[in-house]
């Protein structure tokens, strides 16, 4: 009988620790499927960051490094400059990448560092229990914006793709969403393209994934998926921000 659906080899066969309805599992699977389909697991080095996904080295079968908070792009730079023929990716959340790690991501992008960044944007800090992230939407209630994010007090959410796209370094930047099957399929294509860009030596690639955090949003998994569609897509439009015409 033909197997039509199976666990990717690049994903370790153990239960994940993520909350019910969290989209980290989907994001992990998309990365693992890309590693499998491109046949690059054996030469890939992944960099986990700090946040809920800090220990995704338990889940990815490729070699893995755990990086200090926000520093994954610098660690990835060190690896890639040492092993230019290997494939290097970082997996970072919005607090990690867009707050404490802004210098590292901006300069890795500006250098056109030939790495792939998987960026999870769920508008909140998950692991430390629901604080305001740099991506938290206006009026959004978090444990550190209990009366809602007020731009006078807390400033405005950062659009990472748009910001990095102003640089000349990035080869490919796309924002995708994980809120339904159709979009997950598009996300998969984006992840694969990002790795292909790196394989082709074209330079920096980043895929931002709009993701859920039902636990800290105080929602059911289904309500959380609806929130992406109804609230996040407007502020974070999907699409390709760099490398629209790039063929790989």
């Amino acid at each position: 009988m033909a197997v039509v659906f199976d666990r990717p080899h690049a994903l370790v066969d153990i239960p994940m620790h993520y909350c019910p309805g969290c989209t980290h599992g989907i994001a992990h699977r998309l990365v693992a499927e890309a590693l499998d389909e491109l046949g690059i697991e054996g030469k890939t080095v992944g960099i986990s960051s700090v946040g809920c996904s800090y220990n995704n080295y338990f889940y990815f079968n490729c070699d893995m490094i755990q990086a200090p908070h926000g520093r994954a792009p610098a660690v990835a730079t060190g690896v890639k400059r040492s092993l230019p023929d290997n494939i290097v990716f970082t997996y970072q959340g919005d607090g990690d990448l867009a707050a404490i790690g802004t210098a590292e991501i901006v300069h890795a992008a500006a250098r056109g560092e030939n790495i792939t960044v998987i960026f999870i944007n769920n508008t909140i800090y998950g692991m430390t229990s629901g604080q305001m992230a740099p991506t938290t939407l206006l009026s959004q209630v978090t444990t550190t914006t209990p009366y809602g994010r007020d731009p006078k007090e807390h400033g405005f959410p950062i659009r990472v793709c748009e910001m990095l796209a102003t640089l000349s370094g990035p080869a490919y930047i796309e924002r995708v969403s994980l809120h339904d099957i159709k979009h997950i399929k598009k996300a998969k294509e984006a992840v694969k393209k990002a790795f292909k860009v790196q394989i082709a030596g074209k330079g920096f690639s980043l895929v931002e994934m709009l993701s859920t955090c039902p636990t800290n949003w105080g929602m059911t998994p289904l309500e959380a998926l609806d929130r992406i569609k109804n609230e996040m897509l407007e502020y974070y439009p999907l699409g390709v921000y760099a490398g629209k015409d790039l063929e790989v």
Partner: protein, 352 residues
Amino acid sequence: MGEKLLMKGNEVIAEAAIRAGCRHYFGYPITPQTEIAHYMAKKMPKVGGVFLQAESEVAAINMVYGAASAGKRVMTSSSSPGISLKQEGISYASGAQLPAVVVNIMRGGPGLGGIQPSQSDYFQATKGGGHGDYRMIVLAPSSVQEMYELTVDAFNLADTYRMLAMILGDGILGQMMEVVKFRDEEPIVQADKSWATNGHGMKREHNVITSIHLDPAVLEQWNRGLQEKYRIISEKEQRYELYHCDDAEIIIVAYGSVARIVKNVIKVAEEEGIKVGLLRPITLWPFPTKAFEQVIDKPRAFLTVEMSSGQMLEDVMLAVGGRKPVYFTGRMGGMIPQVDDIMAKIREIRAN
């Protein structure tokens, strides 16, 4: 025949690193060590290596973290305020047991301080400037020749023990020129790096480099492993120089460029008929307690001289253990102790 060249201390560190097989250097400009970066920028492309000017010291040490994880010999360098910024990465690399060389050419502090030579980062280097129970091997050269030899040793020690080794110099050593004699071939330790994350090629289990262990029992066990390694290093790797200590009435304890000034003090004291010796720690961690056991019976007192408020002084007092009086004199902020100052202190001790 080894090549003999007149070179600046900072440049010698860079040259020594390349000779030791280091092909990856990540740095950020700061006085008085920037010549290391200049030298690397020029030389690395010619030897097929990587020089990268990072966006910050924080990024530089994390690039070191990445290259060390990939199994490469890698170095970064900075001066005091920049080394403070690297402490996060130093702690992580220590936790993850990564070998690399970190160079600190010290300047006066605290804060932005000044750019003149100092030894006020002794605590930071030897007691752990970052968080957690960790150590670095800390080597303190006292000449340009030693900056060469100890840099090569630092790479070998780092690889042997899978940990960070620091070259702790100061602005005098970094900026001064001396003749250095290079070996034709370096004694390079080929350490096992099967732990490296360099792609498993579908031929082995995946390697993981991490410093996080959320189970406290596991983390304690990990720490016990580190401490056992540090105990072995303390036993095996102490280095020091004993100079004119045999019949010394007073033994001065000093390292780095201050030890050179003390050698002049010894001459001047001899002219006055005072016998002074020098105990010069070369490894600041592990601190050479064995040197003190060798000489403890001889002098009437020890005198510690530093370009700081008296940081190594605490280790000297622990090593002496109350068996002899321990005195201190030093200068701070980039001021250099003069022979006259040290002689005055010696006369004061003798008058007691």
